[in-house]
Symmetry: C2
Subunit: 255 residues, 2 copies
């Protein structure tokens, strides 16, 4: 990412983040988030992206505008532009973590086999069909919920699993924007007539910077109606802390 | 609301929407949403507001900018300005409902006594302490969860109840933005050292236009950590349809 002055940044969409022809939505949000965090001078707390058009391999510019820079938080909006058209509009608030204080945690990380369990080994035919993005993000989905990849659907719109970046690259607050959209849609576990689920809007709350090690993720959809669905995500670190909550509104195209 | 040209609108913050000195956040979001819907030429689907400063009684201007206007959706950003400073930054996508198609509903409206049940009658001392906003929005909270108003806390960060506008004014897609922030914070049911819970960001998904009649609402917080918490809302209509999902990120000020 290269600052060009006046809040504008140049960045490149790498082909390695492709999902069947379009760049992953979380990856594009993370590119915008990195520029916005630079403009804000602090890491993301809550970031919302509205997807306007598919993003593909190649150059983009990110135009940022600091709406307000306060003592604790800075609020920034941005647009990502590719080939002369806006592909993503973003609004986010950035700030540093507060001290731990009153705590209330009504939830827990998903229960998964250990990260190195041989049960996660994919059969080669499944691995061969994986989109490019899985060369950069390694996901290890709970086996009882991942049979949809070979046509065995659980009937519940839920996916859980491990996530780490390849080469165990550390996951910072900005990389969490990417992680929040890194799993397949959990509705692939339903008998819905659906091949793709385009995101309209994705909101990510960064609740903490992850401790080192792979993350545990839970993605679920509870309501599909009138061609729209929400997808809620929770991401937990190796210290059993919730580090990210996400929600997206997506389209269920008519089959 | 008065259009002033070039995407600018004039509006007034009425004192009747006050909560102990500041206008209700959902009310201000609905004012922005109404201007944005006018600019977009269609009703809201997903709207996110970032709160920059308290809004008080008096005039505001809303500056809207249509980022993209497509066949199905239009994406608009806006800022609300009062007395020369921005108080709210908003990003939203607007569009018309799709036809019903594949449906999956993993949830149900909260169970409540009937809207007209005498159990909802408040004792006069409680009613006297109500903020102004409750002259415009009538809420009838599940009695077992609303004892916090007299110091009896349930221990679970959950509130459910009925909601209708005074004089049974119909609730359209824009009014849902207001409803999504109309209940007290559910963490008032915890032994947390907290008197107010300022919203950092509020995202509302409009999932349908409500059928006539009072709405049933469920607001809950599952995670409080490092001075931040989320609050999730579900709003159901008299036809048992989910018409709104909301999530806000709020601050837990140190007590």
């Amino acid at each position: 990412m290269t600052p060009l002055g006046d809040g504008r940044y140049a960045a490149t969409i790498h082909p390695d983040w492709d999902i069947f022809g379009a760049a992953n939505g979380g990856y594009v949000l993370a590119i915008a988030g990195r520029a916005m965090a630079d403009a804000a001078g602090r890491p993301p707390v809550t970031v919302t992206g509205h997807y306007l058009a598919p993003t593909t391999e190649g150059d983009v510019t990110v135009d940022t505008h600091v709406v307000r820079s306060g003592r604790r938080f800075a609020t920034v909006n941005a647009t990502v532009n590719q080939n002369g058209r806006d592909v993503l509009a973003v609004l986010g608030t950035f700030g540093d973590r507060d001290e731990p204080g009153f705590s209330y945690i009504d939830g827990h990380p998903p229960e998964l086999p250990p990260f190195d369990d041989p049960v996660f080994a994919d059969s080669p035919d499944v691995a061969a069909e994986r989109p490019n993005i899985f060369n950069n993000i390694e996901t290890r989905m709970e086996p009882h919920l991942s049979g949809f990849r070979v046509g065995i659907k659980s009937g519940e719109a839920l996916l859980t699993g491990w996530l780490q970046l390849r080469h165990e690259e550390p996951i910072d607050a900005i990389a969490l924007l990417l992680c929040a959209d890194a799993f397949p849609p959990p509705i692939f576990n339903l008998d819905a007539p659906v091949a793709w689920v385009p995101t309209v809007e994705l909101t990510v709350h960064v609740r903490g910077v992850p401790a080192p090690g792979p993350l545990r993720c839970r993605f679920a959809t509870r309501f599909i109606s009138d061609g729209l669905l929400e997808e809620d995500g929770e991401i937990w670190d190796t210290a059993d802390r919730l580090v990210c909550q996400s929600r997206q509104l997506a389209l269920l195209p008519r089959g």
